[in-house]
Amino acid sequence: MSQFHSTLSRREFMKALGIGAGALAGAAAVAPAFQDLDELTASAKKSSDHPWWVKARDFGSLTTEVDWTVLKGHLADGSYNDSRSDSSASTDYSSRVNEWLADGRAKKIPGRSNRDQAAKSAIGTPSITWTWPMAANSNAAQKWEGTPEDNFQTLRSFAHYCGSPNCGALVIDDKMERFVTKALEWGTTSSAYEVVGSGNSATIKFSGNMKYVFTATILQNYTHKSYENTKDDSTGRAGFSMPLGDVSRQRAYADIAMFEFWMQRFITTLGYNCYLQGGSPNGSGPGGRVNIPYGLFSGLGEQGRTGHVMSPTNGIIVRKTSFFITDMPLAPTPPIDFGGTKFCESCMRCAEMCPSTACDDRKKRDTFDAPFPGGRPGYNGWRVHWWKCTGIGAPNTCGTCHGLCPFNHENDALIHPFVRASAAITPLFNGFYATMDRFMNYGAAKTEKELNDWWYRDFKSYKADAIFGQGSFQSML
């Protein structure tokens, strides 16, 4: 019987040992290390479902620096959002879009034919009678009482069932108060809340107990969103949004409506008062429109180049941070750092493709001022030129930026979690990753064949449809 003899000499063995030790040292250098027990406990404080490479920060401390002496909840003129847009550009743009869509209908062009446009029109937000502040269930026998941690876990678990991948919580203080409109006030009231007036002009006064905010991320379908991408060869930027892919945005708003409807009822049924932030999803009711700061301060993400919440696992395909103001005690979750904002400095994928050039193309963040109309001063971050952005019909007819973030990618291919973890550890390769994202063809416009084939896709292998009741189980192959 033949015997195998190792050819490894003692010298070679020692060499291998040296390389092994070097590799171990390298791994130790990039692995998360805890200097003391405080760091260890801080790492456990991070909100809920983030991967191991997401670091928790101190409460109130974002990776976007805030100047609280300047930052206000409303704009200088007292309004909450600057709804003005560049009207001349808007008129020109919408007439060209309409022409493009009419052409698609007449010639049955895939992606913008009648059936594609019908799909976009059909996916609307269901008509719901909203109750912005909703009273607690008065039946004491049905009340749920737990620790703030357990209460948060209860809401988080129900929210996940209802469709949110990640949740957070924060406590209202004088800083957090700034992110809701003047219609909401905290102070002394005889009950949990008092509504003064009616309709959109109503004001609501909360008692001091109504100080907890539950936040939840609602995503847009990223895979389907990619059917929206087009390219305008004359500008090198994105063109008009393809109606077939636009469906994913409309669907997200419908999902938000159902999610918020269910969550508010869940909280009140548990025996707590709950105010569902107004102004969205159907644009009526009093209350705040800016949901992003609550997502940031409760650790659902960092602020990306587009100003949106950038999630460590889903990038800026986050359609909204839903938030609920309640008197149910909730354990707050801290802001996070996963190298997202740092990644934005090197990436530029959204800015280079923005069809209205509204997206900030400064590489680094270098001002607390608001250099463009419609922006807020008071934080050192990028800003969008809102007049240009809404001038081309955003968010209803454009969401280009949302679909281009390299952090959006699904996690099936192992390269994606690898890149995310690596970017969280060191920004050294961020530029390379962004270049590879371009080279690999992510975010490219679909061909006419691909757009047409969507209607004939293989239901058993296509993973992007959200099938009611199926959860994450795969369909039978």
């Binding site: 033949s2 195998f4 050819t7 490894l8 070679e12 063995f13 060499k15 291998a16 390389i19 895979t223 990619s226 990618h409 699904e410 099936d412 291919a413 192992l414 390269i415 590879m436 080279f439 690999m440 063809n441 992510y442 490219a444 292998s461 296509y462 993973k463 992007a464």
Partner: protein, 91 residues
């Protein structure tokens, strides 16, 4: 990926058996190069197949170019080195 893993294990077993039976001497760095190539190849196949499930067929093919090509180089070099050295020794 289950079948990819199974196929990989079979190929590896056959390769090691051949090395033992034919008394082929393999240097330690050739094993290292081969291991890097094998890991890279598995990584390539995983990303290739998963990109199709992510509905990104063009990305899938580019993975073959970006990761698959280096994987093949890492796999072929140690094989060529070992074959050449052993054939020289036999001669």
């Amino acid at each position: 990926m289950f079948f990819v893993g199974l196929l990989f294990a079979i190929v590896l077993a056959v390769l090691i058996t051949l090395i033992i039976v034919n008394k082929i001497s393999v240097r330690w760095w050739e094993w290292v190069l081969f291991a890097i190539g094998a890991i890279l190849l598995l990584f390539t196949v995983q990303n290739f197949l998963s990109s199709f499930s992510e509905n990104e067929p063009i990305v899938a093919w580019r993975f073959l170019l970006v990761l698959g090509l280096p994987a093949l180089i890492f796999l072929i070099i140690p094989v060529l080195l070992a074959v050449r050295r052993n054939s020289t020794a036999a001669a």
